[in-house]
């Protein structure tokens, strides 16, 4: 079996996953005790209007027809309209408004850990059992143990009053930004705008990426420790490759392989964490939207968003397999000569 056949197989495996995940979502929304019609009506309890809404929403139809329509709509990407949160607004439009903020947040909260956690982890792995290693490792564990929402609360408070606390105003530093507000994502190509958007998202991204940073550090450390003892590293030394080249060429490249699923796995965790961080930092992103939709009983919005999340997660999985296939030449190889 070749590498690309392996990849294709992995992609095909995603089909039942999308299907099953979406089905579970349907079951929770429509079979569970939630009543979308009541949510639309609100607490007034007008029975006639209630019946009319049930009828118009197709809620009186047999369940399997509802299911078929639900699946058909989602799979053809007809995500419908919001019923409660922003009544009548199409889900696609809502995603267009809320989505970019989450993407911007997610992008930086993946990038920052990679550029901070990995180097720290590699450094610790190269110098195991030194003071620096202990500090980095312990710091990584503690940093990872901090709940996002709590860290976010602390950040917000400290930054909003940085002037009083440290005599340094974060809000006015470099570019003027608000702390608890959605980032302004217009005109990102202009340096000041970009800087502003980056600075506005930075605390949130740091918080959201905190667990990833700790993870990547730890796993980077063990991966380096492992490759350090590999026979090919000894071979490289035996043929006279200088120490630094052994590290950069022979150890790091191999140490990256186990990190691929870690990084992609975390990319996905960020979606869940975004609810809390977006709430604290008042970034009106997808997590926040989902939360609002849920507590308001906005069934179609919740369903469509969950479907998008499933697609996103499956997409990340595929990306992971793709990276694997690229980075590790052994993937999909069965060992037969």
């Amino acid at each position: 079996m070749g590498r690309w056949e392996y990849f294709l197989k992995r992609v095909l495996l995603m089909v039942p996953i999308v299907f099953l995940g979406t089905t579970v979502t349907f079951l929770i929304l429509r079979v569970g005790p939630i009543d979308p019609a009541a949510a639309i009506i609100g607490p007034s309890g007008d029975t006639e209007a209630y019946a009319a809404i049930r009828d118009s929403l197709g809620l009186d139809q047999p369940l399997w027809i509802q299911y078929a329509e639900f699946m058909r709509d989602l799979l053809t990407l007809q995500l419908g309209e919001s019923w409660v949160v922003v009544r009548g607004q199409s889900v696609w439009e809502l995603v267009g408004v809320y989505g970019p903020r989450t993407l911007w947040l997610g992008f930086w909260s993946i990038l920052i850990p990679i550029f901070v956690g990995l180097p720290l982890g590699f450094y610790a792995g190269l110098n195991p059992n030194t003071l620096a290693d202990y500090i980095a490792s312990f710091g990584g564990i503690v940093w990872r143990a901090m709940p996002n929402f709590w860290l976010a609360v602390i950040f917000v408070s400290v930054l909003t009053q940085s002037d009083a606390l440290f005599g340094f105003s974060w809000g006015d530093w470099l570019v003027e930004t608000q702390i608890v507000t959605p980032p302004d994502l217009s005109g990102l190509w202009e340096p000041t705008q970009f800087l502003g958007a980056l600075k506005a998202i930075l605390p949130a991204a740091l918080v959201l990426g905190s667990a990833s940073m700790g993870n990547e550090m730890r796993i980077g450390r063990t991966a380096v420790l492992e490759t350090k003892n590999a026979n090919y590293v000894e071979m490289a030394k035996a043929k006279g490759v200088p120490g630094r080249l052994v590290v950069w060429k022979h150890m790091f490249r191999n140490a990256l392989i186990p990190l691929v699923p870690v990084i992609t796995g975390e990319a996905f965790l960020l979606l869940g964490g975004s609810v809390l961080v977006e709430t604290v930092f008042a970034i009106n992103g997808l997590g926040y939207l989902f939360f609002q939709a849920t507590i308001n009983g906005d069934v179609p919005l919740v369903g469509s968003l969950m479907f998008l999340f499933i697609l996103l997660s499956v997409g990340i999985n595929i990306l992971q397999d793709f990276l694997y296939t690229v980075i590790d030449p052994r993937v999909g190889y069965d060992g037969g000569a």
Partner: protein, 363 residues
Amino acid sequence: MSRHARDDNVPLNADATSSRDLALEVENLRTVFHTEHEQIHAVDGISFNIRRGETVGLVGESGSGKSVTARSILGLIESPGEIDPASAIRFEGDNITEYTESEYESIRGDGIAMVFQDPLSTLNPVYTVGNQIKEALSLHQDLRGTAATERAIELLEEVGIPDAARRVTEYPHQFSGGMRQRAVIAMALACAPEVLICDEPTTALDVTIQAQIIDLLMDIQAERDLSILFITHDMGVIAEVADRVNVMYAGEIVESAPVEPLFAEPKHPYTRGLLRSIPSTQTSGDRLETIKGEVPTPNEPASSCRFAPRCPKSFEECSEVAPIPTAVGDDPDHDAACLLYPESMTTDEAVAHHRPADDGGEQ
């Protein structure tokens, strides 16, 4: 401890080979591993040498310290292992145990190259075979780019890999076991070393492939006048490849001799036992002679013969006196470390011969 510094029998005095003919000389090498509970004297005061163009065998069972010897020579011992500072490994006139890491880097590959046991794990899985050969070329021969690729292809052809132009672009896992070992050999040859250390190069391979690799190594040696240190546990292989053989047991060389007298007249009880326990030398169906017990872990300095507990000929003094290499047999190069020798002496005299001169008394 240092009484093993064998000034009286530094090998080959009799042979009048001057040290200029020696490619590599190992003298009183000791490598110790410090573990949590104990110190393991993996290599405990061994001395041997390799002449130019010669194949010297190092044979022993697992745990005898032969791989550690190879790694000690290349300076690949890392913490918790340590080479005793009194050890000397002479290569091109220098005692390389005193080298710094960067000085070592300049002779690794270039002067002394190594072929390891398991070719799959010694090749880096994420780089093509060509890349890894070219790495060695650029380090020691300053070849880069197309010139390096061409040279890599030549090397692969030289070690008998057909379709080398395609093979250089392939990854190690796409090679079969024998091909991988050929590639490792090509890599070792890339820098034209003078000494090649082969650490069980055929153990992981099937017999027909083993035969190919042995043929290849012998051809290369003849072509390039290489000196080879060949490490194996297989007496059959050693009989085939080696000119001289050192038999290791629990970190020590118990017998050393040119290959023919060794196999014809093994002197040390361990060598004898080892040869007799190999099935094929006898007709089928008989009971095999065995060596009772197991190989010990050398976890303290030798104060007795380490083989004594398993030795069919051991006597009381064997557990009190550590034997030193002593000339035995007709061949001047034939030494054994055993209290039974020299044969010309009575047992008591022999024991006295082996007993440390300086403190002469009982323990």
